[in-house]
C-alpha cells in the first residue's frame, strides 16, 4: 500500500515538475542508438551523460533509465526488417522475427515485439518494485558459480540455433570462444593469440564481431546476391503494426509466463544483462515450447520470448542498483556514475529518509511511464523505420556501413577496430555464402569472456573443485537445464532412430 502511495507521488512529481520532457528525450535517444548497428545502449547513455551535469539528479536518472529501457526494445525493428540486429540482445529476433517478416507478416512481427516489450517491461517493473528489498537481497546470493551456470545455459542455447547442422553450430561456437580469448586475459594478464600485433593486444570486442558479421556482412551479402541499384525496390508496407488478438496472446500464455519470470530473475544476476537473458529465453522456448519444432521458421513465440527477456532485465538491474548500490550491467554502471556525479549515493541510505525515498520511487514511477511511452512512441517510430525500406538499397548500404564504422569507433575510440569490422564483414559474407551459421560464433564471442572470468573466479575461490558448479540450488537448476538442453537432441535422435529401425525390422 505504501509502495502504491509512493509510486503515485512519484508520478505526480514527474508530471508536475516537467520531467516528462527528459523521459521522452531519453526514449527517443534510446531508440535512435539501438537501431544503429554498432552504437549500443551503453554508448547512448555515455554520450548523454555530459548533458546531465547541469540537471538535477531526478531528471538525469529518468532520462538515462529511459534510454536504457527503450534501447532494449527498438533494436528489434532493424532485426525484423533488415536482418541487422541493432543490439546484441536482438540477435534471437533474426530467426523468427526476420522470417515472419519475410513471410509477409512484418506488421504482425512488429506487433508481437511491441506487446512483448510492454508486458515484459510492466510486469517485471511491478514485480521488482513490489519486492524491491527482498529481491535486491536475492541478487547477492548469486555467486560466481551461479553466474557461470547461467552463462553456460546461455551457451547451450547454441543447440537451438543450430539449424541444419549441429556440428557446424558447435564449430562456430568454438571459433567464437577462441576469438573472445584474443588479447590480455582478465585474470592473469597473459597475452593470448596477439602475435605481437598492437591491434590484437587489446582484444577483439564482441561489438566489433557483431557489427562486422551482421551489419557489414549483410551489406556484402546483398551486394553479392544481385547488382545493387539506386532505384526503389522496397514494397510499401501498408499496416505498420498489427496487434495480436487477445486469443492469440492467451494461446502463448506459457511463453509469456516463462519469459517474464526468466527475464526478471536473470535480470538481478549481476553482469547478466539483456543479451544473456534474451538468448536464454529463446533457448528455453526451443526446449520446452509446444511448437518447438517449428520455432525458427517465423513463430510469434520466437519474438515474444527474447523481447520479454530483454525488457524485463532492465527492472532486474535497476532495483539492485537503487536498493544496494550495485550495478549489474554496463548500462547501470554509468547510471551509478550519474548518481555519484550529482553527489547522491544509491544504496540502503537512499531509502532511509522520506525525501530520498521519494527520489527512488520517482525513478520507479518513471520506469512504468517509460514502458508505456516507449510503446506509444514506437508507433510513430516504426513509420519512420519502415519508410527506410523504400530508400534505394545502394544508399541504405552506404548508410549501414557508415554507422557500422562510426559506432564501432565510438565504442573504444580505436581506428584498428574499424579495420577489424571489415575483416569480420568479409568473414560474415563467407559464412553466409557457404551456409555456415553466424549466430553460434557471435554467441561465443559475446558470452566467452563472461564464462571465462566466472569460471576462473570460481576455480580460484574453490581450490579447483569442479563440484562447486553443481552444489547449490541456483547453479544446480541452471546446470540441470543446460544438460537437458545438450542431451535432448541426442536422446531425441536416438529415439527416432530406434523407432525407424524398429519399423524396418517389422517390414523386413
Amino acid at each position: 500500500m505504501e509502495t502504491l502511495h509512493l509510486l503515485s507521488q512519484g508520478m505526480i512529481h514527474i508530471i508536475a515538475d516537467g520531467y516528462l520532457t527528459m523521459l521522452v528525450i531519453g526514449l527517443i535517444v534510446g531508440m535512435a542508438v539501438s537501431v544503429m548497428p554498432g552504437l549500443g545502449i551503453v554508448m547512448g547513455i555515455v554520450l548523454a551523460l555530459p548533458f546531465t551535469y547541469s540537471m538535477a539528479v531526478e531528471p538525469s536518472i529518468i532520462m538515462l533509465t529511459a534510454i536504457y529501457m527503450s534501447g532494449t526494445y527498438a533494436g528489434c525493428f532493424t532485426a525484423i526488417l533488415y536482418r541487422i540486429p541493432g543490439e546484441p540482445n536482438d540477435i534471437p529476433m533474426l530467426w523468427d522475427g526476420y522470417n515472419m517478416s519475410r513471410n509477409g507478416q512484418t506488421a504482425e512481427a512488429l506487433g508481437w515485439a511491441l506487446i512483448s516489450a510492454f508486458i515484459g517491461g510492466i510486469v517485471s517493473t511491478a514485480f521488482m518494485v513490489g519486492l524491491a528489498i527482498p529481491l535486491g537481497k536475492l541478487a547477492l546470493q548469486f555467486s560466481t558459480a551461479d553466474y557461470f551456470a547461467a552463462v553456460f545455459l546461455g551457451l547451450t542455447s547454441v543447440v537451438s540455433l543450430a539449424g541444419a547442422s549441429i556440428v557446424n553450430a558447435f564449430i562456430g561456437l568454438f571459433i567464437g570462444l577462441l576469438i573472445s580469448t584474443v588479447g590480455v586475459d582478465s585474470i592473469y594478464g597473459s597475452e593470448r593469440f596477439t602475435f605481437d600485433s598492437p591491434i590484437l593486444v587489446n582484444g577483439i570486442p564482441y561489438i566489433t564481431v557483431l557489427v562486422g558479421m551482421y551489419g557489414f556482412g549483410e551489406v556484402l551479402t546483398r551486394i553479392g546476391r544481385k547488382p545493387i541499384n539506386f532505384s526503389k525496390v522496397g514494397e510499401p508496407i501498408r499496416t505498420n503494426t498489427a496487434f495480436p488478438s487477445l486469443k492469440q496472446i492467451w494461446d502463448i500464455r506459457e511463453t509469456l509466463l516463462r519469459s517474464t519470470v526468466l527475464g526478471t530473475l536473470l535480470g538481478i544476476v549481476p553482469g547478466a544483462g539483456a543479451t544473456v537473458t534474451s538468448f536464454i529465453a529463446y533457448g528455453i522456448e526451443k526446449q520446452y515450447s509446444k511448437r518447438r519444432d517449428l520455432l525458427g521458421s517465423g513463430l510469434p513465440e520466437g519474438i515474444v520470448a527474447p523481447q520479454i527477456g530483454s525488457t524485463a532485465s532492465v527492472a532486474g538491474h535497476m532495483v539492485p542498483l537503487l536498493t544496494l548500490g550495485i550495478p549489474g550491467s554496463g548500462a547501470t554502471a554509468i547510471i551509478l556514475a550519474a548518481f555519484l556525479l550529482h553527489g547522491v549515493q544509491p544504496g540502503p541510505l537512499l531509502l532511509s529518509t522520506a525525501q530520498s525515498k521519494l527520489t527512488v520511487y520517482t525513478i520507479f514511477a518513471s520506469m512504468f511511464m517509460a514502458v508505456v511511452g516507449m510503446c506509444l512512441l514506437s508507433f510513430l517510430w516504426i513509420r519512420v523505420v519502415v519508410r527506410v525500406l523504400s530508400i534505394p538499397p545502394a544508399v541504405l548500404a552506404a548508410v549501414v556501413i557508415m554507422f557500422s564504422l562510426l559506432g564501432t569507433y565510438a565504442n573504444r575510440n580505436s581506428i584498428s577496430d574499424m579495420m577489424l569490422i571489415v575483416v569480420f564483414g568479409a568473414l560474415g559474407y563467407a559464412f553466409e555464402k557457404f551456409k555456415f551459421p553466424i549466430s553460434p560464433l557471435v554467441l561465443g564471442v559475446v558470452l566467452g569472456p563472461l564464462a571465462e572470468s566466472s569460471f576462473m573466479q570460481t576455480m580460484i575461490s574453490h581450490d579447483n573443485d569442479f563440484t562447486a558448479f553443481f552444489n547449490g540450488p541456483i547453479r544446480g537448476t541452471f546446470m540441470a537445464l543446460s544438460l537437458a538442453a545438450l542431451l535432448f537432441p541426442v536422446v531425441r535422435n536416438s529415439l527416432s532412430r530406434r523407432k525407424s529401425s524398429m519399423s524396418q525390422t517389422v517390414s523386413d
Binding site: A139, F142, S143, S186, G189, P198, G203, G325, L336, S414
Partner: protein
C-alpha cells in the same frame, strides 16, 4: 575599374582578413580541444576523477578537455593509445596505480621514461573491509583465523598484479596467507562481500563510502601512515605491525617528448585547478586525502619510490 584594380582590391581584402585573425591564435597553446584519455570504463573512480578535472581545466584554459574512455588490459589499452599518438600536447591521460603497478609485476611494452607526470591528483587510502554481519569483528580476528587456516580466508581484489595483489602477497610473506579472488568489475567485487562469497574486500576507500555509511560494510584495517579522519578507531597497518602502505594514487600524464613549454602550461593549469574549492569538495566526497596533489618533480620521485616498493613486494611471486 580595370581588372588589375579589382584584383588589387581583392588582394588587399584578403590581406586584411589574414591580418584580422589574431596573430597569436596559431602559437598559443592550447588552441583546440585536448583529449583526456581514461584507460578505464565510464563510471569508475578514474573516470569520475577525469571528468571533474576536465570540467575545471576547461574553465582554466578555455579549451575543452573531452574525456575519452579507452578501457582494457588493466589500463594498458589507454596507455598504448596515448603513447602511440603525436606528442603535440593535445592528448593527456590519467594513470591509475593499478596500471602503474604493471611495471613491477609484469613489464608492459612502455616504461616510466615514456611519459611525464603533470601531477598526482588524487590519493586514496586502501583497506580491508568486512560485511556488517561478519564473524570477523576486527583485524585481530582475521589475523587469528588466517594463521589457524592459511589460504582459507577469501579476499576480493581487483586483479592479479595490481597493488591489491601485491599487498596480499606481502602479507603472506609476513605469515598471513589469504586467498585472493580477482573481480575486475567493482560491482561484482562489492556484491561478493555483501553476499558472503568472500570474507574480506580490499579496496581504496573512495568507492566504498556509501556501503560504510549505509552500514553494509565495515573497514577493519587501513594501509596508511596516519589513521583516517572519521575512522579513528580503525587501526592502520603500521599499528598492526605490517609496514605496508600502497595507497591508490592517480596521476595525469603526457607523452615524454612533449615540448617543455606545453608541459608547463598543462602542469600549471592542473596546479591551479586542484587548488579550487570545487576540487577540494570532490576530494572530500571521494574520502580522498585532502593533500592529494603532488606537483611534477615531487611526483616523479614518489613514483620512483612506489615502484621500488612494489618491485620489492612482487619479488618471489
Amino acid at each position: 575599374m580595370s581588372y588589375y584594380a579589382k584584383l588589387l582590391i581583392a588582394a588587399v581584402g584578403v590581406a586584411q582578413l589574414v591580418a584580422a585573425c589574431p596573430a597569436d591564435a596559431a602559437d598559443v597553446y592550447p588552441n583546440r580541444p585536448v583529449e583526456f584519455i581514461v584507460p578505464w570504463g565510464a563510471g569508475g573512480g578514474s573516470d569520475q576523477t577525469a571528468r571533474e578535472l576536465s570540467k575545471l581545466l576547461q574553465a582554466e584554459l578555455k579549451v575543452s578537455f573531452p574525456v575519452v574512455n579507452v578501457p582494457g588490459g588493466t589500463g594498458n589499452a589507454g596507455m598504448v593509445k596515448m603513447l602511440s599518438g603525436p606528442s603535440d600536447g593535445y592528448s593527456i591521460s590519467l594513470l591509475a596505480w593499478d596500471t602503474f603497478a604493471l611495471l613491477a609485476s609484469r613489464p608492459p611494452k612502455w616504461k616510466m621514461s615514456d611519459f611525464i607526470t603533470l601531477g598526482i591528483v588524487i590519493q586514496l587510502p586502501s583497506g580491508f573491509y568486512v560485511s556488517q554481519d561478519s564473524d570477523y569483528k576486527s583485524w585481530a580476528d582475521v589475523e587469528k583465523a588466517a594463521k589457524a587456516n592459511p589460504d582459507g580466508l577469501k579476499v576480493a581484489i581487483s586483479g592479479f598484479g595490481s597493488p591489491d595483489d601485491l599487498t596480499i602477497h606481502q602479507l603472506a610473506k609476513q605469515g598471513i596467507v589469504l586467498k585472493a579472488v580477482p573481480y575486475a568489475e567493482p560491482g561484482e567485487r562489492y556484491s561478493s562481500l555483501l553476499g558472503h562469497h568472500v570474507d574480506l574486500l580490499y579496496s581504496p576507500i573512495g568507492n566504498i563510502g556509501s556501503f560504510v555509511s549505509g552500514q553494509q560494510m565495515r573497514p577493519i584495517l587501513f594501509f596508511s601512515d596516519e589513521p583516517i579522519k572519521g575512522f579513528e578507531d580503525v587501526p592502520t597497518a603500521k599499528q598492526s605491525g605490517h609496514d605496508i602502505s600502497l595507497p591508490q594514487r592517480r596521476a595525469v600524464i603526457v607523452k615524454a617528448d612533449t615540448p617543455p613549454a606545453q608541459v608547463k602550461v598543462l602542469s600549471d593549469a592542473i596546479a591551479a585547478v586542484v587548488a579550487k574549492p570545487e576540487y577540494a569538495e570532490f576530494l572530500k566526497q571521494e574520502l580522498a586525502s585532502p593533500a592529494s596533489y603532488v606537483p611534477t618533480e615531487a611526483a616523479a620521485s614518489l613514483m620512483e619510490s612506489d615502484l621500488a616498493a612494489m618491485k620489492n613486494m612482487a619479488a618471489g611471486k
